[in-house]
Symmetry: C2
Subunit: 139 residues, 2 copies
């Protein structure tokens, strides 16, 4: 992503887990994209264990920075993400997960987390919730 | 992106720049997506100044962590990104830039930085460079 990375770039022929450049926190950014429509659903973070679990189970597992633990996407809401493919970027510090999202990705009940955009100088909501957060997580 | 953010979430009606939750380094993650095809091109970082310049000029400007300065995408290669729209996510710590990419986004000469994927246990290159890095940046 930068034109002058400081450490070796990932190369073909090595396993994915050996090629990811986790940051000082042990995390790597992970974009989730709906595999067929191309919609960008969310940006989250993964540690090594989350990547391993995602590859092993075929379901997206992230690392929650706020809860400081593995975050099995959909474990409480049922809105799981089936992994279709996973990509690593040119300098090894970002992942792109192509997923099949069950229901909505966003905790607000919207399909995508990226629903705010500037309009006339202030943020506007481009989409409305498809389900209520209460229905997703319980009251 | 997390279900339990610790600080206030962005709300409609406020300016974008007041709503971004920059991290301790003063940065926010920014995904660049080709606006019409949906292809995810790259993940980069922006500081406040980069967001301001991007909004003012309509061309993507990032912050290079390796060079520790503003990175006007395409300033040396000509591979600029025209801003079509910009989105903020539900917890305010990630941006999605919908862009019109001139040429290739990746410094390796590939359209997208996300060209590596595990195949048979090791990373494979899904695409080949469309132009040589030398042609982009000079020998």
């Amino acid at each position: 992503m930068s034109s002058t990375p400081k450490s070796p770039e990932p190369v073909a022929g090595l396993p994915l887990l050996e090629s990811i450049r986790f940051d000082l926190r042990g995390l790597v950014a992970a974009i989730a994209q709906q595999h067929d429509t191309g919609e960008v659903l969310m940006l989250a973070w993964m540690n090594r264990e989350a990547v391993e679990e995602t590859l092993a189970t075929g379901r997206a597992c992230y690392f929650s920075r706020s809860r400081n633990r593995l975050w099995r996407k959909g474990e409480s809401s049922g809105q799981v993400q089936r992994l279709v493919d996973i990509r690593l970027d040119c300098d090894g510090d970002a992942l792109l997960l192509l997923v099949d999202q069950t229901g909505v990705a966003c905790h607000t009940g919207r399909r995508s987390c990226f629903y705010l955009a500037p309009r006339d100088g202030v943020l506007a909501e481009l989409t409305q919730p498809e389900v209520s957060p209460e229905a997703l997580y319980g009251a």
